[in-house]
Amino acid sequence: MFNKATSILTVLLLGVLMFAAVQTADAQSTEISGVVTDQATGETLPGASVVLAGTSTGTSTDMEGRYSLTVPSLDGTLIFSSVGFQTLEIPIDGQTTINASLSVLVLSGGELVVVGYGTQERRQITGSVSSIQEEGFVTGNVRDVADMIQGKVPGLQIAQGQGGNPNASQTIRLRGISSFGANQEPLVVVDGIIGATLDSVDPNDIASVDVLKDASASAIYGTRGSAGVILITTKSGRSGEDLSVSYNAYTTIETVENRNEVLSADEYRSFSQQVGISIQDFGANTDWFDEVSQTGSNNVHSLAVSGGTENMNYRLSGNYRDREGIQKYTGSEQIGARLNLSHWALDRKLKLTSNVAVTNRDEALGHSDAYKFVQIFNPTAPVRADGFENLGGYFDQNLFDYKNPVNMIETATRDREIRSYNVSLRADYDFNELIPNLSASAFYSLDNRSVKQQNFYSRTNNQFGGATQAALGPGSASQSLVDTQSELFEATANYIADLTQRLTFESFVGYSYNQTTNDGFSAAGGDFVTDAVGVNNFQFAQDFNQGLGSVNSFRNENKIIGVFGRANINFDQTYFLNASIRREGSSRFGADNKWGNFWALGAGVDIANLVDLGFFEVLRARVSMGKTGQDAPFSGISIQQFAPQGNFFVDGRFIQSFGPISNANPDLKWEEKTELNVGVDFEMLENRLRGSAEYYNSITSDLLFSVGVPVPPNLFGQTWRNVGEIENSGVEISLAYDALQSVTSGVNWTTQLNLTLFGETMLNKFESDEVRLLATAGSPGQNSTTLIRIKEGEPIGQIWGPQFSRIGEQGQWLYLNQDGNEVGFGALTPDDRRVLGNGLPGFQLGWSNNINVGNFDMSMFFRGVFGHQLVNLPSLFYQAPAQMSSYNVLKTAMDIPELTASPQFSSFQVEDADFVRLQNLSVGYTVPLNSEMINRLRVYVSGNNLFTITGYSGINPEVRHTDINPGEINQGFTLGGALAPGIERRPNWFTTRSVNIGINLDF
């Protein structure tokens, strides 16, 4: 199929060139020429447009601001225009040389914002778009784009639930949860490549990030836009600019910010005496946290070279990142390179742009479970002891769900390699001579990502290597390789018409073809004669000789095809109308429902243009509405598939049996989100106070989910269906204030505040009004303990369980039943459970301050999230003093010495998790240099995650948008994922703080 797309690209390019050739042939008559300049500076203006009024005749100026235009006669009027300047009309009056001098457009709101498939002036935007330029990014120890914009965009929630895990991505949610069965993360578009991954762009290469927040803004991305769209624009060179070199580097020290405190060996001994529980005292004093931890570091170097000539520009950059995590032997090393190249040809009518990026990332993933066991491993036990040779010398005890964490991290490796490259080619052609202001473009991109993961558990490993004190284990190894390739072809045509002096019409139409192929291969096996070769030679795994090894491969493809268009009307620079539509189809849906229509409408008015508002310089009001969609989560979801189903014993031998593996659903269709957005933008006090406020309300219907279906007649108890509807609403406020602007003293202080009020995410409809209980606490003994309730008509994220009353005289748990009476566990009925909290927040705050004093600059960024609760599972499992007979316990056990009962879940383990965090503090100094060679030298010190104010007693009060432990509970209902927010699970990394020292150097 894709040969077709590439050939279309070629055809289109040829077509473009032919048009150009034809159009240049019929020129005769009189010629007018001249120079266009900026009135204020006298500098020439390249690229300004010159049009003979009332005709399609026009041209644009060259690099020196010169133009020449052939006109039928020396009557009429020339219209000169350029972005950011006021349009000027000059009658020809027989002249053949006409110079024009344009004045700067003083109306504010003229800055360009990247929107889907193009840019728009801020004031023309009627939907909700947040734009962050380079100077607004969170600096310091950042891993990817998510780190850089965390807290900067109202309505955008970015949370690092995995603390200091150096290889974990943040979870990103825009305006709450828009889906729970399909994708919940915003669509990422990098320089036009739709569906790119965040870690394929190095933070140092990013010029701006624009977030399309509401459905009217993202509807142009139709089917994948319902969770919002993050548009990333990378830096490029400037035409006519001399070679410039920029070098940025920093080094980071990363330490533990917060961890679950457990009893020290001495406390373990004394507390056990206090509560009268016999313990095993092995005589040592071990801090298991320390044994698996180290000081983390991060060294980042970035070098960029950019420049350009009259008809081309380029930027070439290389990035290197070397990170060591806070768990021993973890970290990552990343090398990336990017080349952005633009070239103009054919009298600057044709622009060719090409971007190439390559990223190599090697990760040592470490073992999250080690952090589970450092919490409970006996603090009197030695790390190593004689008699444990089969465990590599690491001391161990025969207890369930209990492993020496040092053995875990030192006898096993988990590595991942990510190799990605993407290439995009774009041709824009200006058809000005054919039809003024008509242009067309063709775009092709290839985005390739391959991920290899290797796990190796040696014969002395006690987790998956099978080792015990009594015998060496067989060891185990696995390797998987997944290759994802996405090809995108798009063709668009733009047309702008100044219909009258006051009415401007802009439109574009396009076609998009996106095909993604996933294929992979994996192998796993064990029973090694030696650990020497690790995962690198499966021939050493005797499992394969015995038929016990496993080998798998897979391949699937999916396609998304769309046609789309947008029209913008600008009346008198005061009234604005936007409309867009996209019709799109996905191969994943049922045969009857492959296509969907997604549209948007928006209107805005600049009130300050209509009436004099006194101290308001700008006051814009806008309202918009749109519909977006969400694709199905995986290929093959709507059809019945057959696959091997184990073996069948026939006549003394096993043969492979085949059978269906899924129910079919030919009616499966798009998730659809309809959103209303109302916003106000203002600037006042001589533009010193700027802000916007927005209200949104969205309803997502036909939500995709795997729901229980009756067996019989269905073959399986679960089928993917369109069930349910959720509703989100919220208010977002963004304020920026130039508190101090002193030209004389050189002191500037700008403060910016982002506030978001989230309404509850309501589950308006679900498959039925039955209550669903999901997200079980886990083993040991809590596999049937559900933590979350889902019910139609109620908010998503309800933490559900019995209400704790107190610890009774016999040391037992006592609860309040539905009548308010105190009862023990045995007397609790299901009806006594109640809502104990909600895992989704109600309020989010981001507060940044930028201060410049002379050559010093300082920025400070606070982030806070409020109104959410967390289920503290470490406290559920490891707080009961009775556990001391086998395990170590949390220090908080000393708060409840009277408890003798085993762990049981109740409101006791549900805590408010409001927090405010100093996310980033940075101080920089620009060294004053009078050097021909060095343009700028800045050194800085910054800290990330410096402190957190919270009442939460667990490790990390951060919102958990999604449960890390999806699976199935025994009542046949899928647990976890987005339906079960608000759970802090046990295998959890510490949170960390980091301090960076860095340098920016421009030549």
Binding site: M1, I639, F658
Partner: protein
């Protein structure tokens, strides 16, 4: 200005054409899945037919460890899963199951297991019938396969009838209703209808089934179907209110008279790692650690530390245990007369072994349980490096005691005799290679004895049949039969063969309506509506036509 644009309509037309061309040629959204097959690409060769047949049997791998064994064993007086402090507490799940205080939440596993079998059978019957109708397959070849599938489906329905009583009868794949309802909203009428369906299906398929025993190992041959219908008749009074003892004997005799099966010389020959040679096993799930994994008794029952006894690749879960009552039924000289000798005692004591040696009956079948001090493969005493149990005096050396202190919260970690019926293979991971026994010839003998006893209070034939089984176990013959003797003998012989619940329900209780409703340790007398399980909540939710069983 507009008219100027229109003047260029030729160019516009060209552009429009270009877009139209693209849009028309690239809108194909046919799904292309390269790594699995869809219905239209399968069932084209004979091998694919036989391979497909396996799917109906494949369901049987769920027979162990899931909802089916939970319903038939844990709710009976044979097995208890104590909450060992944190472990196995599961929010009181297992305690509710073993103490007969369950809710409609606990029994979905058996339902989905059995109905998967029904559905797979229905689908394959449909596909094979279609193949015959279209001429792709020969009726002479297809008919016995279809009969086999009908008998297998009847086996699944027999168990649905036994566990849930009044269940929807879905016998067609093509015309299955989206939300099937039970045969009748009246429980007893509905259950009778299910009974009649099972009977009719078995009667119809028996004449077509193979009598070649060796080639049908692990499959439905004629004798397995005989056994299924005999089981149906043995509990007919429970299911419909009308006893069918003589009919049961007819079909049991059909098995005995065929001469195809006989008692193995050694009881445990039926349960070894390579038990496929047993002359006694009639219907098994031919588990294999490589080819058909799914049998995980070793991890279900053994202590965490027992990993070292067998050098398993995985740590066991310290769960399912035999009851103290079960152990006493073996060693009690009155209940089980036979040679007396030293056996392990009941209660933990503070000696080196952790248990006393006491006098008791030397029944070979005591080997069904693992009791006493535990050692690693190299003979080192196993230790539990935690406290022994609240209020108990023993140390950390592991001894499995028949005594279990508590089932709800504070069960001690080494309490409980462990299920040692199947031989454990050293060095395995999660899958055992022993074939799991569903029907066994000694059951044919004991069922026939019971049916005879039911009809005329015994007689020498019945006594002789029971004593054949007792003699193999090395214990003394009975001189007379009564309900206790028959039921106890069945417990000793068939412990952990998934029939205790059904057996208990067949016998009148001394405190409750049936033996199943009587009280035993950790369980009070239960109401007789608990003799069938509730229709699972999940099923009621997804199918509004279902009616909950009475009492729930």
């Amino acid at each position: 200005m507009f008219y100027k644009i229109i003047k260029n309509r030729k160019s516009i037309a060209t552009l429009v054409f270009a877009f139209a061309f693209i849009a028309a040629s690239c809108t194909d959204l046919t799904e292309n899945i390269s790594d699995s097959v869809t219905a239209d690409t399968f069932f084209q060769t004979e091998e694919e037919f036989v391979s497909a047949l396996g799917d109906a049997y494949g369901t049987l791998t769920g027979i162990h460890g899931g909802g089916y064994s939970q319903a038939n064993e844990v709710t009976s007086d044979e097995i208890v899963i104590p909450a060992r402090q944190q472990d196995w507490f599961e929010g009181g799940f297992w305690f509710r199951v073993l103490s007969h205080t369950w809710t409609p939440n606990e029994f979905n596993g058996a339902w989905t297991f059995l109905y998967s079998g029904v559905n797979n059978s229905n689908r394959l019957i449909f596909q094979f019938e279609e193949a015959v109708a279209s001429g792709a397959a020969d009726a002479a070849v297809a008919d016995p396969i279809i009969a086999e599938l009908r008998a297998l489906r009847a086996f699944y329905y027999l168990n649905l009838l036994d566990i849930y009583g009044n269940v929807p009868i879905v016998d067609s794949f093509a015309n299955a209703e989206e939300n099937p309802s039970q045969p009748s909203s009246d429980f007893q009428q509905g259950r009778t209808a299910v009974f009649n369906f099972v009977e009719q299906e078995l009667l119809a398929s028996i004449p077509l089934l193979s009598t070649d025993v060796p080639s049908t190992y692990g499959r439905m041959n004629r004798y397995v179907a005989h056994m299924a219908i005999a089981k149906l008749y043995m509990n007919a009074e429970v299911y419909t209110g009308t006893a069918r003892w003589a009919d049961a004997i007819t079909y049991l005799d059909g098995i005995i008279d065929s001469g195809n099966y006989n008692l193995a010389g050694n009881y445990f020959e039926n349960f070894t790692i390579n038990n496929s040679g047993s002359p006694e096993n009639m219907f098994v799930v031919p588990f294999d650690r490589v080819f058909l994994p799914g049998f995980n008794l070793h991890v279900m029952t053994l202590h965490y530390a027992s990993q070292a006894t067998y050098n398993f690749q995985v740590q066991p879960w310290n769960g399912w245990s035999g009851t103290q009552k079960l152990y006493e039924t073996y060693i009690d000289a009155d209940k089980n007369p036979g040679p007396q000798g030293e056996v392990w005692g009941i209660m933990p004591v503070n000696n080196e072994a952790g248990l006393d040696r006491i006098q008791g009956t030397q029944d070979v079948r005591i080997g069904n349980l693992i009791i006493g001090p535990q050692f690693s493969a190299s003979g080192v005493r196993l230790k539990d490096d935690g406290e022994y149990g609240v209020g108990l005096t023993n140390g950390t050396d592991i001894t499995f005691t028949p005594f279990i202190n508590d089932a709800q919260f504070e069960g001690c970690r080494q309490c409980g005799a462990r299920v040692g019926k199947y031989e454990f293979e050293a060095g395995i991971a999660l899958g055992m290679s022993n074939d799991f026994v569903i029907y066994r010839y000694s059951d044919v003998l004991l069922l026939k004895a019971e049916a005879l006893w039911r009809m005329n209070s015994g007689g020498s034939i019945a006594l002789e049949l029971v004593n054949q089984v007792r003699a193999r176990a090395g214990v003394a013959p009975f001189t007379s039969l009564d309900a206790d003797k028959i039921l106890d003998e069945r417990m000793r012989e068939f412990f952990y063969e998934m029939m205790r619940r059904s057996d208990q329900i067949r016998f009148a209780g001394t405190q409750g309506a049936t033996r199943y409703n009587d009280a035993w340790k950790f369980k009070e007398v239960s109401a007789d509506f608990r003799n069938v399980m509730p229709i699972p909540r999940v099923q009621l939710e997804s199918n509004s036509n279902l009616v909950q069983n009475p009492g729930y």
